[in-house]
């Protein structure tokens, strides 16, 4: 990721601030910046969401569905694929293939987070076992990064999946060995995914001897190690990744996981509340997109 270059003095200032539980933007250690979500803003995708953290980090997610053949070893399961594109709009460093490393890192974290059948059951994407299934592409476009990219992506993916509408298959039969699939003509006749168990991604950043949630890019460059965890709403952790060059004692690691788990409840609760409120507006919801 594009590191923000900071002098030693600036770093010391931030670290001392975190020690006093007062960060540069006035937040305490376990406080998020305001999160803004707009979903269903792209009519041409099956599901979409745009999420912004603190007016800086900006992520756009689009979900598209295609009919595909299932894997031979898992004939009754569909496919779920995450693709991350770091747009050069975010920073010139992402130009060309510059953003590919970060993109692969983020998509790996997401596929690990959604891998367990407890979180996302791929069987619901199956149409005819051995023959046809839905392939769900979750495409993430990173438009601007100002720290805490992973949390933003994780929450935006959950928001996009919340309003994803899978067209209803009305007939799926085998006609002489050939699959025959008919999808409903009515664009409103569709199936929604059950997102209750979908994980949120949370980064716990270790700055000095303290842990910080939702770091800005300045704070990220002060931290030597951070833990990236995806937590399901019931508190189960589906994946843990350590980022950064620093090392952690086992005790610290457990403490960080505990902090992350507690915060993830609140994050998930706030996210679901916001999404349900937006969903209640129904079709009357105005689309702002990038015009606001």
């Amino acid at each position: 990721m594009a590191e923000t270059p900071l002098s030693l003095g600036e770093k010391t200032f931030i670290i001392h601030g975190v020690d006093l539980n007062l960060r540069n933007d006035g937040r305490s250690r376990y406080q998020y910046r305001p999160i803004e979500i707009e979903s269903k803003l792209m009519k041409h995708t099956h599901g979409s969401a745009r999420l912004r953290i603190g007016n800086i980090t900006d992520v756009l997610v689009g979900v598209k569905l295609e009919i595909d053949t299932p894997f031979a070893e898992r004939p009754d399961e569909g496919k779920l694929e995450f693709f991350v594109d770091c747009s050069a709009n975010a920073t010139p460093a992402f130009e060309g293939k510059g953003g590919d490393d970060l993109a692969t890192e983020i998509s790996n974290v997401l596929s690990m987070a959604y891998q367990t059948p407890d979180a996302f059951d791929l069987k619901q994407l199956c149409i005819i076992p051995h023959q046809k299934c839905w392939k769900m592409y979750v495409d993430i476009l990173i438009l601007q990064c100002g720290g805490n990219l992973f949390d933003a992506v994780g929450a935006a993916v959950k928001a996009a999946l919340y309003n994803t509408e899978i067209p209803r298959v009305i007939t799926a039969t085998l006609d002489g060995g050939e699959p025959d699939i008919q999808v409903s003509d009515d664009p409103y006749d569709c199936i929604k995914l059950d997102v209750t168990n979908y994980p949120v991604v949370l980064t716990v950043c270790k700055i000095g001897d303290n842990f910080v949630i939702d770091p800005t890019s300045e704070e990220e460059s002060c931290s030597t190690a951070s833990i990236l965890m995806s937590v399901m709403p019931n508190g189960k952790v589906t994946s843990v990744v350590k980022l950064g060059y620093g090392s952690l004692l086992p005790n610290t690691l457990i403490k960080m996981l505990q902090v992350g788990k507690d915060i993830s409840f609140k994050l998930n609760e706030a996210l679901m509340k916001g999404l349900e409120e937006e969903n209640k507006l129904g079709k009357t919801k105005p689309i702002f997109g990038f015009l606001r």
């Binding site: 792209m42 041409h44 800086i56 689009g62 050069a88 476009l141 100002g146 990038f290 015009l291």
Partner: protein, 272 residues
């Protein structure tokens, strides 16, 4: 699309527009805080984001000693950008995006005062979020707006506008076809048999009817079938009129943006 659909609808196009009617253009400047300049534009359902970084020190050693600024453009399409069901495999790096990047660079080089920034580089990045025809033209307009937002001195607006000559199969329609070049084609019209010309022009400053001296075509790019040379002149006249219209819309938008975000210090200076 049925080619004779236009006649059935009383001379209207598939989306109900007249031949020289543009789609609704909505724009916003200063979308992103981190970029030096950014803009967002919608031509109907075609949606484009553009960001400008620079002028800054060039990374490549070749341009270190050049007397002009180097323009670096990247045209990229989001993988979910297609309106018609399917998904794009790669956001950039394919043949089409590379060609578009080069054409965008030509358009930008034509308007920026390059000689003011020796040994430096200006990056223009365009991200197409939704494609519904005329996406290259929309991206030129977005890039121009982003340059204005970045405060980079430009000579004139580079305005992209597309014109499509819809082919009619019947012979008696031949003389009518001459006149039927439609402006700002959407995806359906672009895919129908016929020629699409994407033109980037520097539109004149005042609203002149006589276009010959004012409309300077910078980039013209054709796609589709062959075009008879005799038709080119009428198409050119029409597309320059379209560019003029778009320019008026963008100019109004820019002025509105600048007045709305006026710095108090600027107001103070202009009163003196």
């Amino acid at each position: 699309m049925e080619p004779d659909q236009e006649n059935d609808q009383g001379g209207l196009r598939v989306d109900g527009r007249r031949a020289l009617e543009l789609r609704q253009i909505r724009m916003r400047m200063g979308v992103f805080g981190q970029a030096d300049g950014s803009a967002y534009i919608e031509h109907g359902n075609t949606k484009v984001l553009a960001a400008v970084y620079g002028p800054r020190q060039s990374r490549s050693s070749a341009s270190r000693n050049s007397t002009k600024a180097m323009i670096n453009c990247q045209y990229s399409m989001a993988v979910f950008s297609f309106t018609s069901g399917e998904r794009k495999r790669r956001p950039r790096g394919d043949w089409k995006s590379q060609e578009r990047s080069a054409q965008l660079r030509h358009a930008m080089e034509a308007i920026i005062h390059l000689e003011l920034y020796p040994r430096s580089q200006i990056d223009v990045f365009v991200e197409v979020l939704q494609v519904d025809g005329s996406d290259y033209c929309a991206s030129v307009n977005a890039a121009t707006l982003a340059l204005i937002d970045a405060g980079i001195p430009i000579k004139n607006y580079a305005i992209g506008c597309s014109i499509t000559l819809v082919n009619k199969p019947s012979v008696e329609d031949e003389d009518k076809t001459l006149a039927t070049g439609v402006l700002d084609a959407n995806f359906v019209e672009e895919c129908s048999p016929g020629v699409t010309l994407s033109v980037v022009a520097l539109a004149g400053t005042n609203n002149d009817i006589e276009m010959d001296g004012n409309g300077l075509i910078v980039v013209a790019h054709g796609a589709g079938q062959r075009l008879h040379l005799s038709r080119l002149e009428t198409l050119k006249q029409r597309v320059l009129q379209g560019c003029q219209d778009i320019k008026n819309i963008l100019d109004r938008g820019v002025r509105h943006h600048l007045i709305a975000n006026l710095l108090p210090s600027f107001l103070h200076n202009s009163l003196d």
